[in-house]
Structure formats: structure tokens, C-alpha cells
Symmetry: C2
Subunit: 591 residues, 2 copies
């Protein structure tokens, strides 16, 4: 073993050199008395050639070699004969004539081919994850992931941040999603909780004067998994003292610009656009608007309320709104497609979807509801909607939130169906001034929109008690292409405001004391003003690598039932272990 080069690094520049490489056999071809092997390592492929005249005693070894065998081979780099270059390989201009070779290990036939366009059930690939990870496209993702975290760390280090590790065996908190619990052997009947985020630890680090903290931290959430979630995930967690939110937003957008420039060669314009939550909802029907296409929402309530279309008029009369979007050139939509979009809108609560195809001429529009509008009203609507001949306008009439939400989703769906999204477009923005609370109908109480440690806007502090629904928070989300990359806020640094917020969330005195008592105490010992942000690293890598699933950027991901198919965990454990932990299995669940 005396590797001198990686496979993919070789080129014509090495012509004539004796090199030694290690790797896996991708493919073997016997041809005209010669054996050609594509050898693969982390960097790529190179073609090696066994010629009996040169390889001598090693030629029979090459005959034995099969796919995924691990070998070490030494030979002379040569320019390929004219016409035999392979432009699809970075090393396609050369090949290596092997004079020495060792088979380092054999391999059973893999259950699927190690290649990028693998055609194999994902569960099989997850079971043999170590084989799946040999595929170049996956390896590329892990290289990128490594480069990303290096870049982030060096950027933050350069700005005076210290990485501090916070506990993983933490305290269970009942807020929000479920904690994973860890039974304590030393304190039978008691449990640690795995952190959903290092939130309170990082705030305590600010109280301790650490000033600028970050951590690329593992976090845990025992939720029923959606396609894009994992029970454990990685978060870039940041907190700083003595700052306002502009400082953080500025620092973070510059970080993203540096990352995209240096890792992807993409220039991102800074500063990012900042939209208030209210404006984002109003114009895009979403608090994570995708700005890669138009179709902004317009409000036609003022026109609709005077029309003869009862559905619209009555809804506006009782405080609802009528809003619409304009699909440029949408006239090609068939009736069936329009019905399908109506169905799609229904998923988000729309009771119907009204549409008008702009045809010009005397009738102006073709629409089942045209007859309820005067020509002047039609003109006014088309003017408001900036619709021209060939476009389709679509309307939803409901309460404000539902109307925005339906159109926000419809807008994205149509953009996808109509192929309106340029593949390399990256539209970053900040959404700010979120509502502090939202009302949870199920729990019949307010819940925190971000989390209960978020500072209300100064000017809203005095309506905190009377009008919690109107209070805005010093919160900010970074959005990329309709996806939330990260979110943060300025935190409450005053224990009275913090207690008040807990009260509004209807946490009982006892709950507050038991779960957050130590933190309320900490706030009283000289807490600096502070704030921070957190980014989902898995999602960030996924977007940067243009992958569709975060499983493609996690080495050993779990399935939607939170199982690791590679190691077969979770699994049974010995009764002795449970006894020592002071727990037992519930019979009913164990069958």
C-alpha cells in the first residue's frame, strides 16, 4: 500500500509518470487480449489497462477481479490512443498500464449497481447504505456538506464567535413537539430529554457573557415524520449579545453570500429583500414566499362587494376578502386542468375557485361567473389583476387567512406545473415582524408563533396583555425559494416580560416553575440584550446540492418510521438493562 495519487486527480499532466492508486473496480472489460478496468475512488474514475506483456504475473489477478473488489495498482500513465478518449470522464484522456497489482479485498456481488442512476428500491439502498454511499452523486453531497460546515465555522470564527457545546442529555420540556426521553439509571424513575434545540442553553451562555456563540448542534424531535423530516437533525445555532436584529440579519446574509460564492460559484445580491409578515401574506399568501416567479396576490374585495355574484359579495360583507392571481398565458388550461386546480385549492380549505379567461373582444372574458359582473367591473378587475388577453385570473373568496393561504399554495403549484422556475435561480429574502402569538383552536389558547422566548416589538409591549393577537415579535426568517432556511429572534432579556409571556401562553405557575424556573431565575442575574438564529443544515445542504430529499445528505438516515435499516435500530434490549433503568414494558403495547 503506497498510494501516490487519487484516481480522479490524474490527467495528461501525469503522462509518463509511474503512479500507484487504490480503489474499487467499477467495471472490467476483456478486449483484444487486454483487460480494461475502471477504478473508482472518492475523487472519480480512471481507466487502468492490463497487458500481459507489461502486467506479467499480475495479469491473472486482473482476470480474477470482479466489480467492487478493492485493489492497489501501480503503473505508467499514458495518453490514450487517438479516438479512444472518453470526454465523459475527467481522466478520459489517459489510461494507466499496470505493472503491479494487489487485490486488497474481494467483494460479494452488490444487490444493486454502484452508479448514479441507480434503479433500486430506497429501502434496499438504505439497508446497504455503505454501498449506496459509494455512488459518486452521494459522495459529492458529503463533500459539499463538509465544505459548508467548514465555511460556516471559519466565517463565524472570523467574526469572533466561539463554538460551545451544550448537553445532549438535557432537560425534558413539554413545549412544542415531543422530546425523546432517556431513562436515568442513577435516578430511577427520572429521565433526561434530548434537546429539540439548544435554545435555553445558548441563552444562558449569553447570560454568562460568552457574547458570541455558535454551535453546529444535533437536535431531536420525536414527531410523526413527514417526508422531509428526521428524528435527529443538525442545526446551526447562533446567539449574540448587545445587538439588534439588523446586526444578525446582516451577518447572516453575508455568510450565505460567501457560502454561495465560494462553494457554488453563485453571486447572491445583498442585502436581501426584507418583507414584513403582513406584506408577505398579502402579496404572496405565504410567510415563506417563493420570489422566483410573479403571480402576486391582488385584492379585488372592493370591486367584488358591489357585484351580483353573491358568493363574493356576501363574503366581503361579513368581513372576508376576495383575492386573485393572474396566470400569464393561462388560456391554454383545459376545463379539466382548471377543475384539477380547484381540487388542489380545496386541499387548503378553498370552497371554490373562480376563474376568468381573458379573451378580449366584446365579451372580454370567458368565465362561469362573468354574467354577475358589469362590463365596468370586469374592466376594473382585469386592470387590478394586470391581466391581458391570453391570461387566466383565478379568485378565492374566504376569510383573510384562508384566502391568502390557498392562493399562496396555488401560486406555487401553478409555477411548478407551468415550469416558471429557472433551475439556477436563488431568491433569498427575510420575512420579519411576525405575529408573536397565534391562536390554537384545538388547545384553546395562544401558542408562540416562533417560541416563547421571542421579544415583542417595543411599540407593541403595552398591548401585550389586552391584544396579544396584535403583538408583533422581533423575529426574522431567512427564506430561499419558498423554503425556510433559518429563523431567529431577539430574545426577552427581562424576567417580568418573560413571565408575562408564559402567562399568556396559559402555562400554569407550577409548569413554569418546574420547567423554566431555573431560566427565569437566570434572567434576573444580569442578562444582556441578546438574540440569535438557527438554520437547518440538512435542508441547506439539500438545497445547495439540488437534491429532493434530506436523506441524500445524511450518512445514515432513518426511514419515515424512524428506523435505521442499516443497523436495524431501534431494537429489543435485554430485560436486565431495563431493570437497571427502573422501567418495564407495558404489556398491552408489547403484545
Amino acid at each position: 500500500m503506497k498510494r501516490t495519487h487519487y484516481c480522479g486527480d490524474l490527467s495528461l499532466a501525469n503522462d509518463g509518470e509511474i503512479v500507484s492508486i487504490c480503489g474499487w473496480i467499477q467495471r472490467r472489460r476483456d478486449h483484444g487480449g487486454l483487460i480494461f478496468i475502471d477504478l473508482r475512488d472518492r475523487t472519480g474514475f480512471v481507466q487502468i489497462v492490463f497487458d500481459p506483456a507489461i502486467s506479467g504475473e499480475y495479469f491473472p489477478l486482473a482476470e480474477k477481479a470482479r466489480p467492487e473488489y478493492v485493489i492497489n495498482a501501480t503503473g505508467k500513465v499514458s495518453k490514450r490512443p487517438e479516438g479512444q478518449e472518453n470526454p465523459n470522464m475527467t481522466t478520459g484522456e489517459i489510461e494507466i498500464y499496470i505493472s503491479e497489482m494487489e487485490i486488497l479485498n474481494s467483494a460479494k456481488t452488490p444487490p444493486f449497481l454502484i452508479e448514479d442512476d441507480v434503479d433500486c428500491d430506497e429501502n434496499v439502498r438504505l439497508k446497504y447504505r455503505y454501498l449506496d454511499l459509494r455512488r459518486p452523486e452521494l459522495q459529492k453531497n458529503f463533500k459539499l456538506r463538509h465544505q459548508l460546515t467548514m465555511k460556516i465555522r471559519n466565517y463565524l470564527d472570523g467574526h469572533g464567535f466561539w463554538e460551545v457545546e451544550t448537553p445532549i442529555l438535557g432537560k425534558s420540556t413539554p413545549e412544542g413537539a415531543r422530546d425523546y426521553l432517556v431513562p436515568s439509571r442513577m435516578h430511577p424513575g427520572e429521565f433526561y430529554g434530548l434537546p429539540q434545540s439548544p435554545q435555553l442553553y445558548k441563552q444562558m451562555l449569553m447570560i454568562s457573557g460568552m457574547d458570541k456563540y455558535f454551535q453546529i448542534a444535533r437536535c431531536f424531535r420525536d414527531e410523526d415524520l413527514r417526508a422531509d423530516r428526521q428524528p435527529e437533525f443538525t442545526q446551526l445555532d447562533i446567539e449574540m449579545s448587545f445587538i439588534d436584529r439588523e446586526v444578525i440579519m446582516d451577518l447572516m446574509e453575508n455568510m450565505m453570500a460567501e457560502i454561495y460564492r465560494e462553494l457554488l460559484g453563485i453571486e447572491i445580491k445583498t442585502p436581501f429583500l426584507r418583507l414584513s409578515y403582513a406584506e408577505a401574506m398579502e402579496r404572496f399568501g405565504s410567510d415563506k414566499p417563493d420570489l422566483r416567479f410573479g403571480m402576486e396576490l391582488k385584492d379585488i374585495s372592493d370591486i367584488a362587494k358591489d357585484s351580483n355574484f353573491k358568493v363574493f359579495a356576501a363574503n366581503v360583507a361579513k368581513g372576508g376578502v376576495v383575492k386573485g392571481i393572474t396566470v400569464k398565458g393561462g388560456e391554454h388550461f383545459s376545463r379539466r386542468e382548471l377543475d384539477d386546480l380547484t381540487k388542489y385549492a380545496g386541499i387548503f380549505g378553498a370552497k371554490g375557485l373562480a376563474w376568468m379567461v381573458v379573451i378580449g373582444g366584446e365579451d372580454k372574458v370567458k368565465s362561469p361567473i362573468a354574467k354577475f359582473f358589469t362590463p365596468e367591473q370586469i374592466d376594473a378587475i382585469l386592470g387590478r389583476m394586470e391581466a391581458e388577453v391570453g391570461d387566466v385570473v383565478m379568485f378565492v373568496s374566504d376569510n383573510y387567512d384562508t384566502t391568502c393561504n390557498v392562493l399562496g399554495n396555488l401560486r406555487c403549484e401553478i409555477a411548478k406545473r407551468e415550469n416558471l422556475i429557472a433551475p439556477d435561480d436563488n431568491q433569498f429574502l427575510w420575512v420579519v415582524d411576525f405575529p408573536m402569538f397565534e391562536y390554537d383552536d384545538e388547545e384553546e389558547r395562544y401558542v408562540a408563533k416562533h417560541h416563547p422566548f421571542t421579544m415583542p416589538m417595543d411599540e407593541d409591549l403595552d398591548i401585550l396583555t389586552e391584544h396579544p393577537e396584535k403583538v408583533r415579535a422581533k423575529a426574522y426568517d431567512m427564506i430561499l425559494n419558498g423554503v425556510e432556511l433559518g429563523g431567529g429572534s431577539i430574545r426577552i432579556h427581562n424576567s417580568e416580560v418573560q413571565s408575562k409571556v408564559f402567562e399568556l401562553l396559559k402555562l400554569s405557575e407550577e409548569d413554569i416553575h418546574e420547567k423554566f424556573g431555573y431560566f427565569l431565575t437566570a434572567l434576573q442575574y444580569g442578562t444582556p440584550p441578546h438574540g440569535g438564529i438557527a438554520f437547518g443544515i440538512d435542508r441547506m445542504v439539500m438545497l445547495m446540492a439540488q437534491r429532493k430529499s434530506i436523506r441524500d445528505v445524511i450518512a445514515f438516515p432513518k426511514t419515515q418510521s424512524a428506523t435505521c435499516l442499516t443497523t436495524e435500530s431501534p431494537c429489543d434490549v435485554a430485560p436486565k438493562q431495563l431493570r437497571e433503568l427502573g422501567i418495564s414494558l407495558r404489556e398491552t403495547d408489547k403484545n
Copy 2:
């Protein structure tokens, strides 16, 4: 809030500048109509002065300010008057005359003073950890810890390593120390295990062709805690393919040299000394020898066996050894001190400790056992022991292992008592060629000295079955000043050798299959030769920062009963949570 500088960064170079600083009030002194405040932030202290003529309306605020209040203050940097400089402060040549000030937060009186020589029970400090962490000496540790991990990452990145994250919700393995378990909600009755190390994941990453992996990984061990252990700890985990152990040792010792040079300004000589396990035991009675002092062990069995001292002679006759150490200038030991050392030796199993004080003259030595030796034997012993007048030689006679172990510990204890250790001495070395197995009398079977994935030395492979006790492993430990910094090995890349080792460890077929089956399968699909190493980061920082406890380098450490006093975890959880997890508490344990 418009901080322009950190407190500790100011100096005469800023003389005359208007600066704005933020921080905590360390101390207030009212003196001659002026108020002096030492303001503290992460970087240090600076003295600010309130003069009614300059501070105006802010002067009364300064009168209100108390220790640990958080303030923002703006003023002009001035050279201190002649004779009032404070050489103990880095900013001691200047002070700031404050023209504007805001109290950002008040503070209750802390339960202990925020200063380095704090005189307060550690449990109180751990409860108010956020206050404890304000102490400059602790903050310095976390800065160093951050710098260390940055340095490590950049070093490894520069050498082509990728950081890959492996799961924390892993598979429970029964080998070695205890796993923390996490009940699965989706699979009631089943459990995840928190990893004691990412060992099998990183080996699978090698099988996947990642080639060079590292991770600064959190690991977990549910052991009864000794002073220097934590239930969770941080490990620098490294693995690489297609290499032998020289490559890793070389890379790692250069990394340490770079770290010590750049972070501590200390030059370390490379390459490190390499001692075989056998030689380390023979000469230092330890597999982690402290080389900062002499007192090497010498064997006098050949002389002792012919003496009239039955204890020695009989022991040698039945295969035991007599070994000793020489304490230079040890003649000052009182009888009581010698008795005390004998007691100390007893802790490690010595049935006695024989000693000779070298007094010269006709008697040569003063010793209770002198009479059993001829003058020639005494001469031979003193010659072997390189003992001179004024020295003391001490002997232990037992089986080989006990003799070495007792003297190895005695040697370190005496060095400590005799103050033989220079404070800034850093003696690194490698110990290599460890035994593959050791016999566990309790379990009546061989156990792996390192771990069961360690490759035996090539030349010992054919005695694996017949003489496991003689097999040496391709293992290596990096030792600093008698402490194991890290350890690693070349791994088994052949599934048959791996199965054989499992057999020797008396793992049942069923156990092997259930716990390691997936890994044995993985080994069959083209595993490259590979090896790695792991370092304890907590301990490394502790040694670099010259601290006595790893709790000083962990932000929120746990006590010896694995409790976090800050957050009071572990704690009770709601019965509903347990029901969902399919577990219940055992009544007997709940009391």
C-alpha cells in the same frame, strides 16, 4: 446599543477616542466625588469613570449601578494620571470618562463573587453555572476549546478529511460499558442506544469509500462516574483507508505539534518516542508512562533469586519477578513516609515494599532486609539500580503484572510528592503493539484490550486461535504526561478474521448475528484496509488549559451522580409521555 469596542481590547493606542462599550459591573468605588467602575466583558476589564462635570444626567445612574448590572457606556479614553496605572490589568494604563450611559439590565446579588479565586462550594457554582461561567478563567477555557476544535478541523480539512455526522440515535451494543437507551414511540418495546463511539459507523464510511473521515462527535457512557468522567463526552474521531499505522501516527503527532505551537506557543519535538507495550510496562510499569521524570523500573530477579531473602527468592522461583526503582536523594524519607508509601503500594496489590537507603561506607545500605544479602549482592543491586549515596531504592516482588503496576504507580506518586515535575514539561509518546486480548477473571473469558475490531499483527495471525494471550494488536495510544490522550488501531477488514475474533471473545452466534450481523455483512462487500484513532477532546482541553477537572472545560457539566444542577435534570416526566413510549416505571424502584 452601539458598541464600538470590547473592554479588554482598549489601550493607550485608543487615547483620546470616544468609545462605547458594553459589559457587567465588576466593582464600583465612590471616591472623591467620582465613581469608578470596573466593567467586564469576554475580553477583560476596563476602568470607567463618572465625573459629575462630564457624566451630567448619567451620574445618578452610575450611583444606582450595582455589581453584575449590565450597562452600555460611552466616553473618552484617557491616559491614567501618573502613579495610578494598574499593572495587573491589560487596560491598566487607561480609563474612560463616561459621557453617556444606559443600564441595560439590573441584577440580583449573585450567590458568589464573580472572580477567579472563587471560594464557594462547586455545587452552588454548578447550580448558577451561568454566573460561574462569567469568571475570566473559565471563559479562557472555552475560548481555548473553540480554538482547539477550529485548529483540528482546519488541519484535517487541509489533509483531505471530510467531517461526516453519524447518528446519535443509534443501535444498542452490549460490548463494554453501558449504553444510554432511548425508548421508541413508533416501535413500542424497542430502544435506540446512544453511541459510546461512532466506531462501526466510521468503519462503514470506510467501506463506503469516504477514504478520510473525521468527526468531533458526542459520545455517551452510562457508567458510575469517576471524578474525571462525564456521561456525555466529546471525541475527535478519525478514520482513513489504504494506510498503515505509521501514516496515522505521523499525521496525528504533527497535528498535536501544530496545536501546541499555534495555540500555546510550545514547541513539541516530533516524531514522538514510540514504545512497545512490553517495553513501557518493563521500564515504566504502565501503558501510559509519564516521561517527565526518571525512576525507571529495573529488574533484579537474577540477583534476588540467589539471596537469603526468602520472600524474593521464593517468588522468583515460582516465576515471579523482583523489580525496583531508585529515588534520587530519597534518604530524607522518614520511616513514616516509607510506611506511607508502602501503604500506597498496597492499594495496587503489593504485599510489601522493600527499601534500602544508600548510606555508603562499610554498610553501604541501611535496610531491614540488608542482612539477607551478601556485600556482593548489595553491590550488584546498587549497580543495577544506578543508586548512589543519598538515594533510596525500593523493591516489589510479585508476579510480573502486579510488580510492574505497583511500581508504575509508586513512581508517579513519588514524583508528585518529591515535586519532580516541571510545570511546563510536555512529554508525548506513542505506546504500540498492545496485547490483542486480556483475560477477564470475572467473566472467565478473553476481552478485547482495545476493541474487538482491532487488527492483530500480521505475524501473530496464525497463533490467534491457539495462543490468543500472545497475540499483539496493531494498536497505538498517544500518551501525554502519563495520560492517554487518544488511542486507535488498524482495523480488521476481513470478515473471517472478524468472526474469529468474536468467537475468541466468546460471543454467541446469536449475539454476533443480532448485534454485529449487519457489520459482518458489510465487511464482505469490498472493505478497504483501514484504521483510525480517537481523542478525548474534554481531556485534551483540560490538559492544555492546565485545569484539574474536565468540568472546567464543559459548559454545562453533570455531577458525579450524572445530574445537571443548573436545569435540574434528569427529572420526572408526565405519565402520558411514558404511556406513549410503551414503558412504565417499576414500582420497587420508585420509592
